[in-house]
Symmetry: C2
Subunit: 342 residues, 2 copies
């Protein structure tokens, strides 16, 4: 595609995500079509349930990373489309299984699949999407891509198990938490970017750089997600109840930082609310107040900025181009994004 | 391996499964070692939970099919070992997710993983095993094998969703039920057999024949499983509470046959117990009595024998050999197996 002229003409878009969505609009339309085709099934509940979550206003951030990284590397073929769909399928499968794990009722402002169709159907349709994703990769035929995405899938599962073990555990360290989000969130960002370079036939220096970009972008994305979960107006954008992490006793970076600075009385508060999970209505406000008092949200943002720098540095080996600009802008967008999920 | 002499010397084993286990003992030991290696993980719960179910006395029937079919085709290499482990991983992942779906408390006489570690961990470790299986296949490097097993995995998920939809549905037809078991059970048997031929470099005639053998073996295996679930002494062998299918309102072949012959009063009984799921303690005995009265268990066995014939016919294109004999004997074993699971 004559990408640079399209980029020039669309530079007015209000933020990097919207610019990217605009630029990739024709390709995203093809991917949506492919997703619908791939979900067609003799078992009607499969397209119904999967369509509910895939169509639920996700921003297609991960598949867009595959597309954009392939364009950055000058890729001219059509393989990026089905592989971007694979990435979205894996992401969706993990969302379905996550909602079962978290027993969530709302996602992106809509009822979750598990609350509508039960945990069983969500587990099984997640399995289906996961398998379908591998079928699509096999059809594509690259063992490198299969290696990257199967390894990412295993890492995601490891990260989710680790997160499960850390729930209610006030001893969760910063390092352990970073390991969780690197696995559960950033691994798929990294893989989505890397395969863009792989299909363009790039050498290890480039594919490794893309992997690095995605990994660091994913980490900062999750750190911002953690901050947003304690941001009071988030539910207006997202429909998701603010303070989900708090209610679930899920220790994220802001609380880990708060624990480092906690007075004995504050420690008792966190013990009762996060470890013991005996919460009163007013506790969330108290928690948010403590996070502000110790600048834990601000410090999580500062930490996120470190990963932004790493992501930017990773892109430095690529020569200047419109796609490089937009991938760089995307870092800034993720740092300052409104309450949305990818 | 000098297989025919080993077979000759082990022909005294009491049944085909034990013969096969004896013959394949060194290979099964290598596979167990490989499984343990592949489960090693920074997240200790993964080997712990997965080890609980993989080590729980499963008969390794599916991986043995891969081994035996590869030997039938004269395979001489080592690839069958890791691919048999892949098959076991996929099987184990589906068991973990099944137990979540069924909310089972016992499997093979031991507490299920979900009852010990919670549904969440079972879902996630299942995902891990599934991903690890694909990683192992990628390492093996055959896109044909990847195609066969990813397609089987998708079919299994479809079958499980279909089964979920049929629960409590007295309108479930024989055809719909056969579709369920062909998908949820037989697809993996078929794939396990087919890849044995694929790695031996056999042509489509042979790989298709093996697939057919596995498919029909799997169908009859599940039909027998359904009969065993209504057999009063099953729990002594298996520890699983007899009548699970009945209690869960899961319509299997015996009940589908009983419904075809039900008097209006009997129809009311099945409506109340299976569709409405309002069961009293004595209902299971009444159900078993009805199944006997209408010869539904016997007729399910007769149906299973049709699939045994198909499985036997599928093997006919292979020249006589000790491996062919044992694969044929395995059909008879599955038809008359004591209360055990593969």
């Amino acid at each position: 595609m004559g990408s640079s002229s399209i980029i020039q003409s669309s530079i007015q878009g209000p933020n990097a995500l919207e610019k990217l969505q605009h630029l990739l609009k024709p390709e995203l339309a093809l991917i949506n079509q492919l997703i619908i085709e791939q979900l067609q099934n003799r078992v009607a509940l499969i397209p119904q349930l999967a369509g509910h979550i895939i169509g639920a206003g996700g921003k297609r951030l991960r598949p867009m990373l595959t597309l954009a990284c392939s364009h950055l590397c000058g890729y001219q073929g059509q393989r990026h489309l089905s592989l971007a769909a694979c990435v979205e399928f894996i992401h969706t499968a993990t969302l379905l299984h996550d909602d079962v794990v978290d027993d969530s009722k709302l996602r992106r402002g809509r009822s979750t699949a598990n609350s509508l169709w039960g945990n069983q159907a969500s587990v099984l349709v997640g399995d289906f999407l996961f398998s379908r994703s591998f079928q699509l990769m096999v059809k594509d035929g690259s063992l490198d891509v299969l290696r990257i995405l199967s390894s990412a899938a295993a890492t995601i599962a490891e990260g989710e198990v680790l997160q499960l073990l850390n729930i209610h555990d006030l001893g969760t360290t910063k390092a352990s938490y970073l390991e969780v989000i690197q696995s559960k969130t950033a691994a798929l960002f990294a893989a989505a970017c890397e395969i863009g370079g792989v299909i363009a036939g790039k050498e290890e220096a480039e594919t490794k750089a893309l992997q690095n970009y995605g990994l660091n972008l994913g980490i900062l994305f999750q750190l911002i997600d953690d901050v947003l979960d304690y941001s009071p107006d988030r539910s207006e954008h997202l429909g998701k109840i603010t303070g989900d992490d708090f209610r679930e006793g899920k220790l994220t970076m802001p609380v880990i930082l708060a624990l480092q600075k906690a007075s004995p009385a504050e420690n008792k508060f966190w013990q009762r609310t996060m470890a013991g999970n005996r919460q009163k209505t007013e506790d969330l406000q108290k928690a948010i107040q403590l996070l502000h008092q110790h600048q834990c949200l601000a410090n999580t943002l500062i930490l996120a900025r470190d990963y932004a720098t790493k992501a930017r540095n990773a892109l430095s080996i690529f020569k200047e181009s419109a796609w490089k600009t937009i991938l760089n802008d995307l870092i800034g967008y993720c740092l300052a994004r409104p309450g949305m999920e990818g």
